[in-house]
């Protein structure tokens, strides 16, 4: 189990739903906390009778939605002003490619918002890009709620189903997801030019 999870789990055992709410909210809002692992662990504790699974479901879902929406609105209202103070981010924000991606995601946010809910870094990035690009809030909210719902059910089912074996399962998922995202990142970098050309064409049309 990684260091961060080992540091947070005692707080979840101590402060129960409050700690889970805060950790999940922060993971959706700004901090790369492994919320999926925490949810698997909490669901496993529920299967042992230490937590109530229905309360976990409600608490985590609300925290996820609240965190994502706060992140979106923060990026939308203050994002550019705030991020332009950091010199290297300011350089990224004015890059042609970044503006193109921002526009592309804002036009078709559905699938990317939904799928990004399953990984903490991608959640934060997509929330930020959607906010900065002023993607339609209605669309963002719809796909964000749908994605959060799927994500919460997925992790709760794993934790609750595997019970005491959650650490073994979590390790397996963790290792595989790292590989999976490396492959995706390599794939994107390989077809980067094609993706940009396609985006340019779509935006022109």
């Amino acid at each position: 189990m990684d260091f961060l999870v080992q540091a947070i789990i005692p707080y979840i055992l101590l402060y129960k739903y409050w700690a889970l709410f805060i950790a999940t909210f922060l993971a959706s809002f700004a901090l790369p906390i492994p919320a999926g692992t925490l949810l698997i662990a909490s669901a496993a504790f529920a299967s042992q009778g230490y937590f109530n699974i229905a309360i976990i479901f409600i608490v985590v879902l609300i925290a996820n939605i609240a965190g994502d929406n706060s992140s979106y609105w923060f990026a939308r209202l203050y994002g550019r002003r705030f991020l332009s103070r950091i010199s290297f981010i300011q350089k990224i924000l004015v890059l042609k490619d970044f503006i193109l991606i921002e526009k592309g995601i804002s036009r078709h946010p559905g699938f990317i918002i939904f799928i990004s809910r399953f990984e903490v870094i991608s959640t934060l990035t997509i929330n930020l890009i959607c906010g900065l690009g002023k993607a339609s809030y209605k669309k963002f909210l719809f796909f964000e709620v749908l994605g959060s719902l799927a994500n919460v059910i997925f992790y709760i089912l794993i934790g609750y189903s595997f019970g005491d074996n959650w650490q073994a399962v979590n390790k397996l998922i963790g290792n595989f997801s790292i590989l999976f995202f490396i492959i995706i990142a390599l794939g994107i970098s390989l077809f980067w030019k094609k993706i940009l050309t396609k985006l340019k064409r779509e935006i022109k049309n």
């Binding site: 019970g163 005491d164 074996n165 399962v169 590989l179 492959i183």
Partner: protein, 131 residues
């Protein structure tokens, strides 16, 4: 010259695609082999009685599953111990008991966490209901 550069680019791209495909296949093989290994060792047994609460676990939690991040309250609930059993057996005087993790208690009392962990395991083994 230009043709050569294009040709080299194509070769690099093809090599990258082959590497990606190989990486994907290797990771799939690795995933299935780890899954099989975990399944064989009994670490991936699913509890099918999902609708009932509390559920019956296929592999109940054992003494060897105890970790330093667990709290005394959690241990009391999971191993169905009397609320004061660990406190009395281990002579715990900390006012935060049972809402303190094993590691935090060990750190505050300058005890080696592994020694404390061992003592807790022994205490649970010796619990009257476990005999």
């Amino acid at each position: 010259m230009e043709k050569n550069r294009e040709h080299r680019k194509k070769i690099i791209k093809m090599t990258m695609i082959v590497i990606l495909a190989l990486l994907f296949i290797v990771s799939l093989i690795w995933f299935t082999s780890t899954f099989k290994q975990l399944y064989r060792t009994g670490n991936l047994e699913v509890d099918y009685s999902i609708t009932g609460h509390p559920t019956r676990l296929h592999r109940p939690i054992t003494i060897s599953d105890i970790r330093v991040w667990m709290t005394f309250d959690y241990l009391n609930v999971i191993f169905k111990l009397d609320h004061l059993y660990l406190k009395n057996t281990l002579a715990i005087t900390n006012s935060k008991y049972p809402n303190i993790s094993i590691e935090a208690y060990a750190r505050r009392n300058r005890i080696n966490p592994q020694v404390l962990l061992h003592n807790i395991k022994q205490a649970i083994i010796n619990y009257p209901n476990n005999k």
